[in-house]
């Protein structure tokens, strides 16, 4: 396996003086989608923000071998990190086109890609982004990250509040992106994770509790139940396409996993 693109080692993050991320360590391989999972409030968003330097943090973060945890946010991003924030955070008073233009970091923006992926957004170029519907805003937010050539994408709950059809589209767009760029993805929708993720990192109480392949987690009812609290069949009911997997995955105990990372 090639060098991981992102190595997080002993990351601590604080908001308003309060520790929200504690001694987190994991790696993101140089290709494919790594999912960062966990229940509400475990610190997924905070982890991503710590990596980007959007909140106070300590610990070591390496991007492609270079240490970035002392850099200010804009320098980190300039090194090729795309970010799709949890609450969209589009610029409401700017037009859609201006939002995208602002995100372009070099003179080779991939405008055609955006047009192709999000025709609805393209059609609304001149609209004030603040008046877009929630889903439309989410697409602008995604488009902003995809418009540049990146070495890593940090994507925080991209399908939140999207219509099922759009969820599929977004998932497809991410899958397409993942072919060329590694992605660290926070996502609650297990179907999307199933579809995209190769590896998973599970957080609980601000710490890493599980690291392993996606299949190891998703195919193990008990693990899903333990780490994500999903304990009824709600998800499966809506996802009949997935027959229960009886793959006898080699379950890696948490301790071992952590070992593996050291």
């Amino acid at each position: 396996m090639s060098e991981p693109i992102l190595v997080v080692d002993g990351l601590n993050g604080r908001i308003a003086g309060q520790q929200v991320v504690e001694d987190i360590s994991f790696e993101v391989p140089a290709s494919g989608v790594t999912a960062l999972l966990g229940r509400n409030g475990v610190g997924k968003t905070s982890t991503i923000k710590s990596i980007l330097g959007l909140i106070d943090r300590t610990g070591a973060v390496h991007l492609g071998g270079e240490r970035i945890d002392r850099l200010p946010t804009h320098r980190i991003v300039q090194r090729g990190v795309g970010y799709v924030p949890e609450d969209r955070e589009i610029f409401g008073s700017l037009s859609v086109a201006e939002n995208l233009r602002l995100a372009e970091r070099d003179d080779r923006p991939r405008r055609e890609l955006i047009e192709r992926l999000f025709p609805d957004i393209h059609a609304r170029r001149a609209q004030r982004a603040g008046t877009l519907s929630g889903g439309q805003q989410q697409m602008v937010s995604l488009a902003r990250a995809l418009v540049n050539e990146n070495r890593l994408l940090l994507v925080d709950e991209p399908t939140k509040g999207l219509a099922p059809r759009i969820v599929d589209e977004v998932a497809a767009a991410l899958a397409e992106a993942a072919a060329t760029v590694p992605i660290l993805l926070v996502e609650q929708n297990l179907h999307v994770i199933r579809k995209l993720a190769e590896r998973v990192v599970v957080l609980s109480g601000g710490r890493v509790v599980f690291t392993g392949s996606a299949a190891d987690l998703l195919d193990d009812e008990a693990r899903i139940q333990r780490y994500l609290g999903v304990h009824d069949a709600t998800d499966d009911r809506a996802a009949p396409a997935h027959a229960p997997d009886h793959d006898a995955a080699t379950a890696i105990p948490v301790a071992d996993t952590t070992e593996e990372l050291r």
């Binding site: 980007l52 200010p72 946010t73 804009h74 991003v77 990190v81 970010y83 201006e98 233009r101 602002l102």
Partner: protein, 291 residues
């Protein structure tokens, strides 16, 4: 007739002065949400240093005035940028605290200027032509008013072009809304904000030098006098709208002239009533953006 004309043109001149101060104020507020009470101090220090340098180079000539204006703009820009860099930046997105810092700065600097240059106004010399008048339809218009009007128009055009045509304009507008997200797009937003302050400061600096031409003196209180009107026109024009500020500057100044002359010196009263009236009818001011 000639009185009306006189009132209108001198009103335009005064409006131009208001605008020169208000442009920076409006820029800084509109783009950064900082209500800058220290803006008057930017103006005052620029006027003082512009005068100190200008008179040493060549007192009372066009050359001297040009030097003063350039020095004033540079000083205004530098002081404003330093203010942003050392004080405002540390409190980003805490707009009330930022405004408070500038209140403190205004207090401290006016006192400091008094300490350095004394409390009395210092009368300045200016080029011959500016002390003369030009007769238009029987009204003798002081020439310096024309200078003011031309400079204000140039400043307006310059800043509008800057915001429309450069990427900085975009960054700045986005940064006002969500600073950390702009950073997260890989843009050093702090530099843009410093730039906004610098531009606002430069406009104030030019305003300071021209104000000293208009009033014929420099003093520690030069800025405070103009600041309150600059606030008023900024708000009437619509916060953040430069064109609005320009229109409001002219309206306010002309209104003030007429009220002062025909309504027994009630110019100030009329202006504040106009302020209240405009805000009550259009809370966003004449040209304020629909937030």
């Amino acid at each position: 007739m000639s009185t009306v004309l006189l009132l209108v043109i001198t009103g335009l001149g005064l409006g131009a002065l208001y605008f020169l101060v208000a442009s920076g104020l409006s820029l800084i507020y509109g783009l950064m949400g900082v209500l800058n009470f220290a803006h008057g101090s930017f103006l005052t220090i620029a006027a003082f240093i512009g005068w100190e340098v200008g008179r040493r180079v060549s007192d009372g000539t066009w050359w001297g005035l040009l030097v003063s204006a350039l020095v004033g703009m540079i000083v205004g820009a530098v002081v404003a940028a330093a203010t942003e860099y050392f004080l405002i930046r540390r409190l980003y997105e805490r707009h009330i605290e930022q405004a408070l810092i500038t209140v403190g700065l205004a207090l401290a600097t006016v006192a400091l200027f008094e300490g350095i240059w004394g409390t009395d106004p210092i009368y300045t010399a200016r080029p011959e032509w500016l002390t003369q008048t030009t007769e238009i339809l029987g009204a003798k218009i002081p020439n310096d008013r024309f200078l003011l009007i031309v400079c204000a128009a140039l400043v307006l055009g310059g800043i509008v072009l800057f915001l429309r045509k450069t990427r900085y304009g975009l960054i700045i507008r986005a940064g006002v809304e969500n600073r950390s997200m702009v950073t997260a797009l890989g843009i050093d937003v702090r530099r843009s904000f410093t730039l906004v302050f610098a531009i606002g400061g430069a406009a104030a600096g030019l305003g300071g030098v021209l104000a000293s031409v208009y009033y014929g003196y420099v003093s520690a209180h030069l800025g405070s006098v103009l600041l309150i009107f600059a606030f008023i026109v900024t708000v009437i024009g619509g916060l953040g709208s430069l064109t609005g500020a320009a229109i409001a500057s002219v309206l306010v100044a002309v209104l003030q002239q007429f009220a002062n002359f025909y309504l027994g010196g009630t110019g100030d009263l009329v202006v504040v009533i106009a302020l209240a009236a405009v805000l009550l009818v259009r809370p966003r001011g004449l040209m304020g953006k629909v937030a």
